[in-house]
């Protein structure tokens, strides 16, 4: 086949060397750094990925869709690296699979894949609703749930959805592979327990909600400023035969340095009927305990509290409804 005519431009940004960048957004240089890495590796197995990371000894980094990482490097918030290790060609890691009661999501699975997966729609609805509102289609087509979790933002939408589902993450490094609870992966804003330079988040999983449980997510955005939610919240409700709540999880953010699990509210609801009066008690419990704050140009504490008042009962009601039916139609995904 003939090749496309090549008009090479040797003069622009050749690959030789890369410049270090400092934080914060260093606009004085106004040259957004276009060289974020020198080598790009796409290993074929988890072992090979770990070998590369070991080989570079901290000078390489795992990349998912790059929609957080590459922007942070270009804006000088993170240093450029010698090599990127991209797990998207590792067999099995770009798939959603079933392992007994678990739905298992490979680290290369994009938000678009999550949103269109029939099993997740039915048995992890809040994850579809949360991954479905991230960015626009172009971002969702490359950005991964693993990247969202690894980025460890207090209100990363995918993280909030997965936290309500009591998710777990599997980490691989030179010591092998192990599962850990999702919460343990979050150390602080943008700080992950997973070392992105040395270990690979390989898979994420959660228990399918099945016949007696349902989940829902919602968030409130403003049309100005950064694309981070003013507040987002998710819930998973498990019902007994007599419609009492046998188990419940409520996750929300931003409230504190990591995605927040509203345990006091969960306690209030457990063992009681799934009805509006109870949901209002849950709201009170959240407001009494969640460390809500005002963040500049994003939301006031009062507004966030008000959104919990108006939206948490809706989320709980929707999760309850889904627990009672075998089908779920996600709301808001793609908005």
């Amino acid at each position: 086949m003939p090749s496309v005519p090549v008009a090479r431009n040797e003069h622009r940004a050749s690959g030789a060397g890369f410049t270090e960048c400092e934080s914060p957004v260093n606009y004085k240089r106004n040259a957004v750094i276009r060289i974020c890495w020198n080598k790009y590796h796409s290993p074929r197995s988890i072992d090979e990925a770990i070998e590369w990371l070991t080989h570079y000894d901290g000078r390489a980094q795992v990349i998912g869709g790059g929609t957080d990482l590459l922007l942070e490097i270009q804006q000088g918030l993170k240093p450029a690296v010698e090599a990127m290790v991209d797990p998207c060609r590792i067999a099995g890691l770009n798939q959603v699979t079933i392992d007994e009661d678990y739905i298992v999501i490979g680290c290369a699975v994009t938000h678009t894949q999550v949103v269109s997966d029939k099993r997740i729609i039915r048995d992890g609805t809040c994850l579809v609703e949360s991954c479905g509102v991230i960015g626009g289609p172009q971002v969702r087509n490359v950005a991964t749930l693993a990247g969202n979790v690894a980025h460890a933002l207090p209100a990363g939408d995918g993280s909030i959805g997965l936290l309500a589902l009591n998710g777990e993450v599997e980490v691989a490094d030179t010591c092998g592979r192990r599962w850990m609870p999702l919460q343990a992966a979050f150390l602080g804003p943008g700080k992950s327990a997973i070392d992105h330079h040395r270990s690979l988040l390989t898979r994420l999983r959660f228990r399918a909600t099945g016949a007696s449980a349902g989940s829902a997510f919602t968030r409130v955005m403003r049309p100005q400023g950064v694309a981070l939610p003013m507040i987002s919240m998710a819930a998973r409700v498990q019902l007994d035969a007599d419609n009492t709540i046998s188990a419940v999880r409520i996750a929300l953010g931003p409230a504190g340095p990591v995605p927040y699990l509203a345990e006091p509210a969960m306690e209030v609801l457990t063992g009681g009927p799934a009805e509006p009066g109870q949901f209002d008690k849950a709201v009170k419990a959240v407001l009494a305990s969640a460390p809500l704050r005002t963040s500049k140009y994003r939301a006031t504490r009062e507004y966030r509290a008000e959104m919990i008042r108006t939206h948490l009962p809706l989320v709980l009601a929707r999760a309850t409804e889904r627990a009672c039916s075998s089908d779920a139609v996600p709301v808001g995904a793609g908005q």
């Binding site: 086949m1 003939p2 090749s3 496309v4 090549v6 008009a7 090479r8 431009n9 003069h11 622009r12 940004a13 050749s14 690959g15 890369f18 410049t19 957004v25 606009y27 004085k28 240089r29 106004n30 040259a31 957004v32 276009r34 060289i35 890495w37 020198n38 790009y40 796409s42 990349i63 790059g66 929609t67 590459l70 922007l71 270009q74 804006q75 990127m84 991209d86 678009t112 960015g135 626009g136 289609p137 172009q138 971002v139 087509n141 490359v142 409130v220 403003r222 049309p223 100005q224 400023g225 950064v226 694309a227 140009y297 006031t300 507004y303 008000e306 108006t310 939206h311 793609g334 908005q335």
Partner: protein, 968 residues
């Protein structure tokens, strides 16, 4: 370097590139596929979208090696030479393309949607389109035409939305795409960054990074010593005048003693690669003595404020602008109700999708010297020999760029040539000099072509914005609803340099009564220097600001008087015979009342209510009206020169055909000027516009069309083109008379023929005969717009005004405070619609831009430091914000406009924001006095019962108290 194999547009690609490449770099730089554009490099704007294995991705943030082995599709792969893709055809037909910079992104994203739908046998609905294109932005069109075009391309019967207008003439009044749209839609049109000259270097600017400081020293030694660096220049290297400015010369080409805002240019570098240039900039050491910062217009003019420009007699007071009419004291004494409020508008950013780019080419440049192809015949472009210092740039004022560059180089204006390239949007933001002078300096120093492309982030930091204002306005009326007096005081934040502040804020001041007859008026406006980004021209030119204040007060007054908001306005509107605040008597062409009637009629359809509720959804209508001058006005000489040349070309079959070219150095930034000029020329010559070429903005080949600003080009250059065409025909008349054997005076030209006394001869024949006998086939016409008078003289400040009315249907969600605009009904009096298709594009785009002004946009600065450093922090309206727009064209012709036309570029972007806040008030009972509306603030007010809010999004402090008449 590593081997990259992939398939691009069906063809195998096998190249050696650095592994650090992004996909967009491979496409644009390595493969020369420049149809994919870069708007931000932040995964924010979506215009760089290409398809990888059928899936849309943003190529600017996509590692090239992620695409190893993939099928990549770009805009260049969509059409063949003969056939456009249905999406491309539909975009053309619907006018869904203006500047064209976003078009490949919109089309590629839409293609993925169509492909997906086709696979399942469905067609996309509006909701599908809005979901798919959610993050693919367009600053020009307002998206309605985009949605319609995509639906048409999918086989649905959705015709282009073109409002009805008066009957078209031969060419004037016909809806047709802009002549340059075809190349843009194919991805072959070249914007500045798409040029790559043999031997070209890359430039970067060192920006101050501090808002106010004295420069102690600049040390460039370390930068110079870097391998690959060809030049490092500072103020010492400016051989001519180290100042530029459109009105006042106060802006240093390169700062010498002081820096006055964070975006000030301190040094410039040219190097072999962008990376080296960036590294060199990092190595320049500048020692600053930091000075106190003034970041607010009201603080700036207080005694004792730190002074930006030492030696100015008025300190930071850039200008005190006054309008006085009658006696406001007696006016207010006659009023039964007086409304007195203070409003605030934010600094906003044009966010044209093409960041500034300029290329300098040194005098004497031969591409062959650098191993390039050379074509002795070429007039411009990469293969041409350049005998003058030349600048390729997308500029709104090519001649002024030329003169300012020449002054800085210390040479005659004629030794510099500006070659205007296509512009990916301007909206007023490309009037001041950006990299023009710098690339000329660098290319002359290095004797090489030099490209200076600003990153989005540098563009945000550097270029002049729309003025933030605080406006106190007091409006009085009698119980019956007659306005008696308006008194207002405005403070406008001009930023660090004058730019067009004086002119913009004059317009804010003179339009501060709104389009109403007010017997007693006193308006004072204080334009101030601050250490914020300079402010200059921005679509609306000051009137967007004052309209928000005026039209908010009008609604409050109507309520207090117990009158219907529309009726109250109608009782006071300007009409033929009324006198404006500046004392101008309106003699003709005031279509305002008709605009109001058309909008009001549509709005009050079946079971009209101003406001209603459906659960948590609170709906309401709001209305505002506006007006805007056409042309520079205020006594400024306002002219444009155009040149028309005709020739004959043999046709494939049949008779030879007449062609023409119209030339003027005006600017096209997507607003549709080429279509207007082609139509005016065609109308006069009697040949179809498809045979008219339009050449804009090459200062060596086009006469001066003046600045493209103040909605003036249709009027002045349209007139110049029309008269130049007439002049060509007048030159041909004697030849035609010879052929027809009659007197020259008896010849008339129409429909491609010359006719006299019942006989006729083809225009082609006349031209061939004229050419043989040495009659010139080219004529130039210098058109002078009607004279205007200075503010204060009481005479005619402007030669024409456009008028409009807009009603918006808003929804406020009472659970979140979120505001959504569902529908806009608009009527615009444009004099005459020369091209209804491009006109409608201006209207829809202008309205959506003003929705952004009301709801989403604020360029935030904190103590002179921009918070809005990246595009991710500045949201312009996306396709999800687009309402249904119903548009009426009102045509009250103005006698001296071309075929009656006035300008329309700015008008639609004036009243929408006030209409929205008026609707919000009806929906919630809360009056919003600061833009953009903050849903957080609004919701808390709804809960607490507060009646008014004065914090817009991004405002930390309440609106300051303004004393009427000011403190001076």
């Amino acid at each position: 370097m590593s081997r990259l194999l992939m398939t691009v547009n069906g063809r195998a690609v096998d190249i050696e590139v650095a592994e650090s490449r992004f996909l967009s770099d491979v496409l644009r730089l390595d493969l020369g596929l420049t149809g994919t554009k870069i708007g931000c490099n932040e995964a924010e704007c979506g215009i760089c979208t290409v398809l990888v294995n059928g899936t849309p991705v943003v190529s600017c943030t996509y590692p090239a090696f992620k695409a190893l082995g993939a099928q990549v599709e770009t805009i260049e792969g969509l059409s063949t030479d003969e056939r456009l893709h249905p999406l491309q055809q539909a975009f053309l037909d619907h006018g869904a393309i203006q500047c064209g910079f976003c078009s490949s992104g919109l089309i590629m994203t839409a293609k993925a949607l169509l492909d997906e739908k086709q696979a399942t046998g469905e067609v996309p609905g509006e909701a599908d389109i809005k979901t798919a294109l959610k993050d693919t932005y367009c600053r020009c069109t307002g998206y309605q035409s985009v949605i319609n075009a995509i639906q048409q391309a999918s086989g649905q019967d959705v015709p282009p939305y073109i409002p009805s207008t008066v009957t078209a003439g031969f060419e004037v009044g016909k809806a047709q795409p802009n002549p340059d749209a075809l190349a843009k839609i194919r991805g072959t049109a070249k914007f500045t960054d798409d040029y790559s000259f043999p031997g070209m270097l890359y430039a970067r600017t060192l920006r101050a990074g501090v808002p106010h400081a004295r420069i102690r020293s600049i040390d460039t030694a370390a930068a110079r010593s870097l391998a690959g660096v060809r030049a490092v220049l500072t103020h010492k290297d400016v051989s001519g005048r180290n100042l530029h400015g459109i009105v006042d010369l106060d802006w240093p080409v390169l700062c010498d003693d002081k820096v006055r805002y964070s975006g000030d240019a301190v040094a410039i570098v040219a190097a072999d690669t962008e990376t080296i240039a960036a590294q060199a900039v990092e190595r320049i050491r500048v020692e600053y003595e930091l000075l106190a910062v003034v970041s607010d217009a009201m603080d700036a003019v207080r005694p004792g404020a730190p002074v930006l420009h030492e030696g100015r007699p008025d300190g930071n007071l850039l200008k005190h602008i006054k309008v006085n009419k009658g006696d406001v004291a007696s006016g207010f004494a006659a009023a039964d109700v007086i409304v007195d409020r203070t409003y605030r508008t934010p600094t906003t950013e044009h966010l044209f999708l093409e960041p500034e780019c300029a290329i300098g080419v040194p005098a004497g440049y031969h591409p062959a010297d650098f191993g390039g192809n050379q074509d002795a015949e070429a007039l411009r472009g990469e293969t041409a020999i350049h005998d003058k210092t030349s600048i390729y740039v997308g500029s709104q004022i090519p001649y002024l760029d030329r003169d300012q560059t020449a002054a800085a180089l210390g040479v005659k204006p004629e030794s510099v040539r500006v070659i205007a390239t296509l512009m990916g949007g301007g909206f007023g933001g490309k009037e001041d000099v950006a990299g023009q002078v710098h690339v000329a300096m660098l290319s002359e120093t290095t004797q090489r072509p030099v490209k200076m492309l600003y990153s989005r982030q540098e563009s945000l930091l550097f270029h002049p914005k729309r003025h933030a204002t605080v406006i106190r306005i007091r409006t009085g009326a009698t119980r019956k609803g007659q306005l008696t007096a308006v008194e207002a005081t405005l403070y406008g934040d001009g930023g660090a340099y004058a730019s067009l502040s004086e002119k913009v804020l004059t317009r804010a001041t003179t339009h501060a009564t709104g389009p109403y007859t007010v017997p007693h008026v006193k308006v004072d406006c204080f334009a101030a220097y601050t250490n914020n980004a300079p402010c200059g021209a921005f679509r609306g030119f000051g009137v967007s600001q004052s309209c928000f204040a005026v039209e908010s007060n009008m609604d409050i007054l109507a309520e207090e008087l117990g009158l219907d908001a529309v009726e109250f306005r109608r009782m006071n509107t300007l009409d033929v015979g009324s006198v404006t605040a500046t004392g101008q008597k309106m003699r003709e062409s005031v279509g305002l009342n008709e605009c109001i009637e058309r909008v009001d009629h549509d709005m009050r359809g079946d079971d009209f209510r101003w406001a209603w509720k459906q659960g948590h959804r609170h709906f309401a209508w709001g209305l505002a009206i506006g007006y805007k001058n056409t042309g520079l006005g205020g006594g400024a000489p306002d002219k444009s020169i155009a040149e028309v040349e005709v020739w004959v070309e043999p046709a494939d079959s049949g008779d030879p055909v007449v062609h023409a070219e119209v030339r003027t150095s005006s600017a096209e930034m997507g607003q549709g000027l080429p279509a207007v000029l082609a139509a005016c020329t065609a109308e006069e010559l009697g040949i179809p516009s498809s045979r008219i070429k339009v050449l804009l903005g090459d200062t060596d080949y086009c006469p001066d069309g003046g600045p493209t600003t103040a909605s003036r080009q249709t009027y002045v250059s349209g007139n110049a083109a029309r008269h130049a065409a007439k002049a060509v025909l007048a030159q041909l008349a004697p030849t035609a008379a010879g052929l027809l054997e009659c007197a020259a005076g008896a010849v008339t030209f129409a429909a491609n023929e010359a006719t006299a006394e019942g006989k006729s001869v083809g225009l082609a024949e006349v031209i061939m005969q004229a050419a043989d006998s040495g009659v010139p086939l080219l004529a130039e016409y210098e058109y002078w717009a009607p004279k205007t008078q200075a503010l204060g003289s009481g005479g005619d400040m402007h030669f024409a005004f456009g008028f409009c009315a807009q009603a918006v249907l808003c929804e406020v969600d009472s659970r979140t405070g979120k505001v959504h605009v569902h529908k806009v009904i608009a009527a615009h009096d444009v004099g005459r619609a020369i091209n209804p298709l491009t006109l409608e594009g201006q209207i829809e785009g202008g309205i959506v831009m003003c929705i952004g002004y009301a709801l989403t946009e604020h360029y935030i600065q904190e103590q002179g430091e921009p918070w809005t450093k990246v595009m991710a922090r500045y949201k312009m309206p996306g396709i999800k914000h687009t309402p249904k727009i119903i548009s009426h064209i009102v045509e009250h012709a103005t006698a001296s406009g071309p075929y009656g036309a006035k300008g329309v570029g700015e008008l639609p972007s004036i009243p929408t924001s006030a209409a929205i806040t008026n609707a919000i008030y009806r929906a919630t009972g809360v009056r919003v006095r600061s833009l953009p509306v903050d849903q957080d603030e609004l919701l808390r007010a709804m809960r607490s019962g507060a009646k008014e809010i004065e914090l817009g999004w991004g405002h930390e402090q309440a609106i300051p108290t303004v004393t009427l008449g000011g403190e001076m």
